[in-house]
């Protein structure tokens, strides 16, 4: 490992910009890795700076691996940024399999000209998120692309974890009669992002809900080891997860509109733009499916946890060969909750 002080100049994090040498494998890249990534992610495995991180795995259970790429724009938004989003997203994917996350890998594709000050801010945020979650970033990669070929920064995180013996969480377990629960308020993240979009700007105190959920899932599985399915409603919102479940399990779903937890401000923003909260992304929420008998106990456990305070039972699984997702509207009628077509866009009509 290079000794401290063996670089001619410290990196100019205030005014410097990413350039092609940062990805070329030479001294500049080594310095960036050491002074930025290793310094912030700060763990023994990473400090060894080998091509890969070797670790032993606790006995029993099965391993789970998950990966996510993050291309969010804008990079910084109320409540978070692409960095912590990248950590939370993959930690949550592992958690949704019923796993306890162990380690993360992080790959960065940087655009030439990207300000180092922003990169530092992102990496510091990632490091904070990883530390809070107790899941270190132990290996990674950096590449630089020419100006115009990237959106500032793209981050891919891969995570590994252990699913304990006896835990089997999968959409295939879902059965008619099951209840559906959600861990809290829907639509915060998507609305927070939209509020910054050029030409849509509106002022709101809504913040992204980005958060690591493995603590919540651990508590849930502890109380109800037989949970049938878990998933986080990110892109495409709750509607996407409901339709995925219905299709993958060959069942139907009926939701209760009155039971859906949505903040009044999120509702108002959606009304203004003509959006439906069911399709708006969440980054710190989960959907759980369990037997009817377990539902109340699971709900109680979720509500005790800081990330589950606003949890609610929102619907149930029914027998339906067509696999429709329906909703009883607060009005008293029924409507379908269909797959989203591409990205949900505001409307004037």
């Amino acid at each position: 490992m290079t000794k401290p002080g063996s670089y001619q100049r410290p990196i100019d994090f205030k005014h410097g910009k990413v350039d092609l040498t940062h990805g070329s494998g030479g001294r500049a890249m080594a310095q960036l890795i050491e002074d930025l990534f290793v310094a912030n992610f700060d763990n023994d495995l990473l400090r060894e700076q080998n091509d890969g991180a070797c670790f032993s795995v606790p006995p029993g259970g099965r391993m789970v691996m998950a990966t996510d790429s993050h291309v969010v724009s804008p990079l910084f938004f109320p409540g978070g940024d692409i960095g912590c989003l990248a950590v939370h997203g993959t930690v949550n994917d592992v958690a949704m399999a019923g796993g306890r996350p162990l380690y993360l890998a992080a790959s960065f594709i940087l655009e030439e000209g990207f300000p180092l000050a922003e990169l530092k801010r992102i990496v510091e945020s990632m490091a904070r998120a990883a530390k809070e979650a107790g899941v270190p970033v132990v290996t990674g990669d950096t590449k630089v692309v020419e100006q115009g070929k990237g959106d500032g920064v793209f981050i891919t995180t891969t995570g590994v974890g252990i699913v304990p013996d006896g835990v089997n969480v999968s959409a295939g377990n879902i059965r008619p009669g099951d209840k559906i629960l959600v861990s809290g308020m829907l639509g915060d993240h998507g609305v927070a992002i939209m509020s910054l979009r050029e030409n849509l700007s509106f002022d709101t105190t809504i913040e992204s809900d980005t958060a690591a959920l493995h603590g919540l899932t651990a508590a849930m599985l502890d109380a109800v080891p037989g949970i049938h399915a878990l998933r986080d409603p990110t892109r495409g919102g709750l509607a996407a997860v409901m339709n995925e479940f219905a299709q993958q399990s060959g069942v139907g779903i009926v939701l209760q509109e009155d039971a859906l937890p949505v903040r009044p401000q999120v509702e108002a923003a959606c009304e203004l733009l003509g959006l439906d909260p069911l399709y708006v992304a969440n980054e710190g929420k989960l959907v759980a499916v369990c037997t009817a008998g377990d539902a109340e106990r699971l709900l109680a456990v979720m509500r005790l946890h800081p990330q589950g305070r606003d949890a609610a039972i929102i619907g149930e699984v029914i027998d339906d060969p067509h696999g429709f997702v329906q909703m009883e509207t607060s009005f008293g009628g029924r409507r379908m909750v269909d797959w989203l077509t591409g990205e949900q866009l505001p409307r004037i009509c």
Binding site: F202, D203, I348
Partner: protein, 82 residues
Amino acid sequence: MCLAIPARVIEISGEDQARIDIVGVQKDISTALIDNVAVGDYLIVHVGHAIGRIDPDEAEKTLAYLAQMSEEDARALAAASM
């Protein structure tokens, strides 16, 4: 065919401009199509422009009518079950 939403004026923010609020969501909109906009007015907002005003008295009348209709319905239900 026109998505429009009633919103409360919280500030006159410029010539032919007002700031509206719906449950804490705020936006600056054009009031070029409405005369005598005042703070506290409820304007109907469509594509970033106020196109009309909600008349609070008329709104009350509609709600009162609906309430009355609901009472009559309750009586009809009661009568039917006897």
